[in-house]
Symmetry: C2
Subunit: 473 residues, 2 copies
Amino acid sequence: MKKSLLLSSLLALSLIAPLAKAQDSLMIRKIYDEALVNGQAYDNLRYLCKQIGPRLSGSANAQKAVEWSKKLMESYGFDRVYLQPVMVPHWVRGAKEEGKILFYGTEISAAICALGGSVATPAEGLKAKVVEVNSLAELQTLGESAIKGNIVFFNRAFDQRFIETGQAYGTAGDQRNAGPAAAAKYGAVGVIVRSLSSKLDDYPHTGGTSYGNGPKIPAAAISTIAANKLHECFIYWPKGTPNSKPRFMPVEFYFKQNCEMLPDVQSYNVVGEIKGTEKPNDYITVGGHLDSWDLAEGAHDDGTGVMQSVEVLRVLKKVGYRPKHSIRAVFFMNEENGHRGGTEYARLAAANKENHIAAIETDEGGFTPRGFSFSDVNDSFLKTVNQRWKPLLEPYEADRLTRGGSGTDIEPLKSQVPGITLIGFRPDSQRYFDIHHTPNDVFENVNKRELESGAAAIAALVYLIDQQGINFK
Amino acid sequence: MKKSLLLSSLLALSLIAPLAKAQDSLMIRKIYDEALVNGQAYDNLRYLCKQIGPRLSGSANAQKAVEWSKKLMESYGFDRVYLQPVMVPHWVRGAKEEGKILFYGTEISAAICALGGSVATPAEGLKAKVVEVNSLAELQTLGESAIKGNIVFFNRAFDQRFIETGQAYGTAGDQRNAGPAAAAKYGAVGVIVRSLSSKLDDYPHTGGTSYGNGPKIPAAAISTIAANKLHECFIYWPKGTPNSKPRFMPVEFYFKQNCEMLPDVQSYNVVGEIKGTEKPNDYITVGGHLDSWDLAEGAHDDGTGVMQSVEVLRVLKKVGYRPKHSIRAVFFMNEENGHRGGTEYARLAAANKENHIAAIETDEGGFTPRGFSFSDVNDSFLKTVNQRWKPLLEPYEADRLTRGGSGTDIEPLKSQVPGITLIGFRPDSQRYFDIHHTPNDVFENVNKRELESGAAAIAALVYLIDQQGINFK
């Protein structure tokens, strides 16, 4: 009896499996056709970038973006569109920033910008001797005697050998995230951090820094070109310097910034939802973050991500797909400097006893899709998704299914919703850190087809999860 | 005896194979490190684009590019650097081009540019009624009675559903390549071709057209935006047109261009060579084309290709690799409007009895690498390269090894050198046809890391072919 059951199951499977695969293949083709031929993500992104623009948490633009996003989702006729209130920090950059290298009687102008969350310099600016270090470890080795009263210059460059630039960002990032707090502990009066960039150019890259509970000193990013100039002051004589002069003159730096932290502001995550036909309390979330840094339009970071997220729901609806699980597009607020939106979304998911089976974040730019990374999964899981889903995604060149990170906004779901699978959308990474957190992160640097095929790849994955579940652990 | 030999071979293989794989893996890592950390392709490309610029065959710039390229190769100390003389066509665009849609008493300016090889319009320009068609088949159906004396407007757009944009280019391309000749046969007085582009913008894309032995009529590309405007004249009334007016007014087009074909000019392929230590008369060729269209800097088409080709040799030399086979970097001349360089290279290979085992062309832009396509190979070949080489290229995300095309410049080798394997380098294709053959094909649109990792991927493949051969058929 058992044997015949098994046999008939196998028989059924051998008939059904190819049929199911063919259906999946057809549906994914439909999804891509809709996204590539009638895609709306690009036009939506143009509006967000050009009609709204920079939208740092707490700003008037961020509020405009929330209101417009809600209307956009409503226009698509999703089953439910709503805002999730969340209080967010409100940091402002203030007036024009200025940086100068002072060396051997000359002033060399240096492109800087305050790091997000930094305090201001005194109104007249801050000038001090520079101590260059390559790591937090080197800072510690030098200690208070070398650091006190000086400006610390963190100058470790991106390691270009990494194939994925996110890894270079990851290994250089502690200088910006934790460098200022660490330097302040040893009595530094200010911090200059080499921009976290793959590129040699004259744009400083902003980004958040955190003081923790320690003293707060002004901290700025410096462009990679200016960082190289500053570094060279420690090596070379300026041209024409007479040999009789002392070998080492102190290198000084001057900078001025007027940023400040204002009281928290009421803001919102924006949520759109298509109700599941079979398991309405089981959710698959797709999201990016609506806030951006203040220096640019936040096109790739993360306008592309939010516009792909809503496009996923639009496309699935348009091709007539009725999901079994509820599918949500979430525009998270405050990824850049607080993670408050993601934290609140996870808290509410737990409080409302929602069963989230998977969440996908798209926050690595709207570049050509490579695949997806799955967080904290075992070999058996990877084997299963590669057997089942890789062949379906391969014709679209979005089939690299690996173990890896997911995204800052969805990470809090891990501890709040047991059993959830967190997934990161992985576009090609080569260009991201050229423009990340700079004035160059603008709509013009987004390619329509790259953006659209990213949305299609995510929609395809959502479809597969909805059809087959993702409990492969 | 046989059995024990087999056993000992297997035993040896089981010890040697992992070791060889580890060595391959280490060498490929070295190649990437050199290309990504000390790469020179980007600076070389900047020189070619900014100091030389557009370099259509027969132009003074093309000659400058030949001379500079030879010096560049010589500076790298390759074993042999030389020029291969080849006569090339010399087409010039002439003075400012102009296009206008004439409809219902209004003039709508339309961005056009002459197709390469086209004849001029009369000096005062050419004006005629427009007949819009979507294909050569439709042209044939309409026939002489509908076409004679008119301007044919080929308006079939890129099919955005193709994942690889090269396929969209391939299926729309007959309109530009063969459309003017076909229309002339039916008595058309001129041809306007919708730009072969993925993008909706106002840049016309030039490119070669061929009249064959038929009559020659002026042919121009029209920007996709202007093509849409022209198309709309056949559908819509202009705003405010009284209903009493006749439903169909003739749509006319006016254009003026002063291009001409001058006598052939002496030009050259530029060749650099590292001599093989074991099989010096067995060659592996890596190449791109040095000529470009006249409208831009030919950055992606094909400055990146030639700079990657020479970088392959530089990197292999720099990491201390002594190849068994002779390795050549070839900068082909006249890919864009004649293929004379590639044809001559193949002729000389046969005449000199050179045994070419493989040739790789990089002429699809300097975008992030996806892999390689192998021309005219069987399943067993594909299986072998995927088993042996895919795992080694996978960490670099350049591991899509498929059946497919190679490149225009190396194709003539097929008939001249029996047994050669032709290979195309396949970068990501999404952005290529936004800028292809337009003024936007400039250095600024090339990403350093994408360019460099392409050079590294090709160098890795050359290394693997040199080590293992490629006779897998």
